[in-house]
C-alpha cells in the first residue's frame, strides 16, 4: 500500500497534513525549532498580532486547573511592524503553511491588519481572532454577537488576498448562529474553539489567582465541549472546519476529524510534550496504515450516528 495521503484543502489553503500548531502556544515557531522539525507540520499559526505592540496582562498569567490550564496573557505581542520585519522572514523560510492570527480593537483595525498583510508572499492564510476573552475592549464583544462577527469577517475578507479563517469563541449560547453568520460574510474556513472563560481563587490570599481575575481555559478539560461544538458547526456550514480544544494525541485528533473537522490545531499539548504535533502526525499515518485508509479526508465527518430517526437527533 502507498503511504496514506494526509493532505487537506481548506477553502483554498493547502496543507500537507491536517496538523497545525495553535496560536499563542507556539510563539513564532522558532521557540520549538531546537526540539522538532517544524517543516513537518501541516501549518503553524503565529501568536495573535495587533496593529500596535501589546505588553499584556499583569502576572500571574497562567495557572494549572484539573486537566487544563487558565491563561490571561492579554494578547501580548510585538505588533504588526515588528512581526513583519523581525519574525516573518524567518517563518517564511519554513516549508509549512504560515497562518497569521490577527485581532483588532475595532472594525477598521481588523481591516487595516488584513490590508497590511496583503501582497506579502508566503503567508498561507489569515486567522481572525474574534474570540479572545482577555481584552476588555473589542475581543469578546465581536465574537459573541453574530452581526459583529459577520462585520469583522467582512472587513477582513474585503482586504485580504488569501484564505480567511475565522476563529470562534465557545463563550456563546449557540455557536452555529455565529458560524453561519461568518460563513455568509465571506469566511473561507472556520476554526474553533478558542478558550472557555474561567477563574481560579487562591484561598490563602482570598484573591483570584490570575492578575486579570479571569482567563481562558484550555487543555484536555475542554475537549468534550470543543468536540461537540466542532460537530455542531461542521453540520451547520459548508466551509471547512478546523477543530481544536484539548487535543493531546492522535486519537483525540481523530475524534475531531471524525466529528467533522478537516484539520486540527494543537495548543496546550505543546507545553506538555513539545513533540506533540509530530507525534500526532505519525499517529495519523499509523492509524491510516493500520486501517487501510488511503486518504485521511475520507475520515472527515465519518462518524455514523445512531440509526433510528437521524433527523431528530440534537446537534
Amino acid at each position: 500500500m502507498n503511504a496514506p495521503d494526509l493532505s487537506v484543502e481548506l477553502g483554498g489553503l493547502f496543507l500537507k497534513n491536517p496538523v497545525i500548531a495553535a496560536s499563542g502556544t507556539f510563539g513564532y515557531g522558532e521557540e520549538f525549532s531546537p526540539l522538532i522539525d517544524i517543516n513537518r507540520l501541516g501549518g503553524l499559526v503565529v501568536k495573535g498580532i495587533s496593529l500596535k505592540p501589546r505588553a499584556g496582562n499583569s502576572p500571574p498569567r497562567v495557572v494549572e486547573t484539573p486537566c487544563g490550564m487558565l491563561n490571561a496573557i492579554g494578547l501580548a505581542n510585538i505588533g504588526l511592524d515588528a512581526f513583519i520585519k523581525d519574525k516573518l522572514p524567518k517563518l517564511l523560510k519554513l516549508s509549512t503553511a504560515i497562518i497569521v492570527n490577527i485581532y483588532g480593537h475595532s472594525l477598521p483595525e481588523y481591516g487595516e491588519l488584513a490590508g497590511s498583510l496583503k501582497g506579502i508572499p508566503g503567508i498561507a492564510a489569515l486567522e481572525v481572532n474574534i474570540s479572545c476573552p482577555n481584552v476588555d475592549c473589542g475581543g469578546m464583544a465581536f465574537g459573541t454577537d453574530p452581526d459583529m462577527s459577520a462585520r469583522v469577517t467582512d472587513a477582513v475578507a474585503a482586504k485580504a488576498d488569501r484564505p480567511v479563517i475565522v476563529k470562534l469563541s465557545p463563550n456563546v449560547t449557540d455557536i452555529r448562529v455565529i458560524a453561519r453568520a461568518v460563513e455568509k460574510a465571506g469566511a473561507d474556513a472556520i476554526s474553533l474553539i478558542n478558550t472557555l472563560t474561567g477563574m481560579a481563587v487562591d484561598i490563602e490570599k482570598r484573591a483570584p489567582v490570575l492578575g486579570n481575575v479571569s482567563g481562558g481555559l484550555s487543555g484536555p478539560a475542554i475537549k468534550p465541549v470543543a468536540l461537540h461544538m466542532v460537530y455542531q458547526v461542521a453540520r451547520s456550514v459548508r466551509i471547512p472546519v478546523i477543530g481544536m480544544g484539548g487535543i493531546m494525541n492522535y486519537r483525540d485528533a481523530l475524534e475531531f476529524i471524525m466529528a467533522g473537522a478537516s484539520a486540527v490545531q494543537i495548543g496546550t499539548a505543546n507545553f506538555v510534550n513539545p513533540g506533540a504535533t509530530i507525534d500526532i502526525i505519525e499517529g495519523l499515518y499509523g492509524y491510516c496504515r493500520e486501517k487501510r485508509i488511503g486518504r485521511l479526508v475520507d475520515l472527515v465527518g465519518s462518524i455514523s450516528l445512531p440509526g433510528r430517526g437521524k433527523k431528530d437527533l440534537m446537534v
Binding site: E31, P34, G56, P59, R61, V62, C67, M248, P274
Partner: protein
C-alpha cells in the same frame, strides 16, 4: 546562552532521597542535558505521564555529577508530591537545559551566594564553579528542621554560613541581615552577590546591593506553561531602567541583574 541544544528526554531516575523534612534530592540520568547545563539554568519535569497534573514543573539545576542532573526540591503541592514518589529506575520526561544562567565576573572578586529555602539549589551548582576561597555561601531557613544539610549532598560547596529565623541553627535572623552585616561592616573589596529565594528576601538583597552599588544577579520564579518563551505566561515586571514592561522568566531569565526588575510590583 540562547535556546540551543534544548532537549526533551525520557530519563531514568538515578537516585532520590529525602535530605530534610519534605526536601528531596533527585538524580536524573541524562548525559545530554547534564553536559549542556550551566549554573542558573533550569529544567521542566513532567512528574508523570498523565493528564493530571498536566503541566511540567520547573526546577533549577542544583548540580551535575557524572551525567546525572541533580535537583533539590521541596514538596509543596500535588506535582512535587508525585515526584517525590518516583523511584530509581523509573523514567520521567525532562526538558532542558532552559533559560540563561548566572554570569560569573572575570577577575578576583569576593562572591556572596545568598539562598533562601530552596533558593540554594541553583547557587550550589554555581558554587561548584567558583575557585575555593573566593565565595561565601549564606543559606537562610525558617528553622533547623527545614535546613538542608548542604555538606551531605555530595556536591562541592565553599564555606557555609547559616541563618535561621528562630535561631535553632546558625545565626538567628534573616539571611539578608547576615549579608548586610558582612558587606557593610567588613569593608569587602569588589563584592558580587548572587541570590535566589523567596521574593521578600530577593527584594531586600536587591535594594541593599543597588544602594551600595554592588553587582547583584538574582534568580526568579514564575508560574510557567512552556518554559520555552512561546506562551508568554511567565511575565515579571521590568524596572524603568530596563526599558521593558515585562520580562519572561523562562527566556530572559531566570537570572536577572537586580536592577532590571520592578521590585515594587513583584
Amino acid at each position: 546562552m540562547v535556546l540551543h541544544g534544548i532537549m526533551d528526554e525520557n530519563c531514568e531516575v538515578a537516585f532520590q532521597r529525602e535530605v530534610a523534612g519534605g526536601v528531596f534530592l533527585l538524580g536524573i540520568k541524562s548525559h545530554a542535558i547534564a553536559g549542556k547545563a550551566a549554573p542558573g539554568q533550569f529544567v521542566m519535569v513532567r512528574v508523570r505521564n498523565s493528564l493530571s497534573p498536566l503541566l511540567r514543573r520547573p526546577f533549577s539545576i542544583c548540580g551535575v555529577v557524572d551525567g546525572i542532573i541533580v535537583l533539590l526540591y521541596m514538596v509543596v503541592g500535588e506535582g512535587t508530591e508525585i515526584l517525590s514518589g518516583t523511584l530509581p529506575g523509573q523514567r520521567i520526561s525532562v526538558l532542558g537545559p532552559l533559560g540563561n544562567g548566572f554570569r560569573l565576573p572575570s577577575g578576583i572578586k569576593r562572591i556572596f551566594l545568598v539562598g533562601g529555602g530552596m533558593g540554594i539549589a541553583p547557587l550550589l551548582f554555581l558554587a561548584g564553579r567558583i575557585e575555593p576561597g573566593h565565595a561565601v555561601f549564606m543559606a537562610g531557613y525558617r528553622s533547623s528542621e527545614k535546613a538542608v544539610p548542604i555538606k551531605d549532598l555530595g556536591l562541592p560547596c565553599p564555606g557555609i554560613q547559616l541563618a535561621t529565623e528562630d535561631g535553632s541553627e546558625g545565626v538567628r535572623g534573616l539571611v539578608t541581615d547576615l549579608l548586610e552585616l558582612r558587606i557593610r561592616e567588613d569593608n569587602i573589596e569588589d563584592p558580587v552577590v548572587f541570590a535566589c529565594g523567596p521574593v521578600p528576601m530577593l527584594r531586600r538583597v536587591s535594594s541593599l546591593c543597588l544602594e551600595l552599588g554592588i553587582p547583584c544577579q538574582i534568580s526568579l520564579e514564575a508560574h510557567m506553561a512552556c518554559g520555552l518563551g512561546a506562551c508568554q505566561g511567565c511575565a515579571v515586571p521590568g524596572s524603568k531602567d530596563s526599558g521593558k514592561v515585562f520580562f519572561h522568566v523562562c527566556k530572559d531569565g531566570p537570572v536577572f541583574d537586580a536592577g532590571m526588575i520592578s521590585w515594587g510590583e513583584l
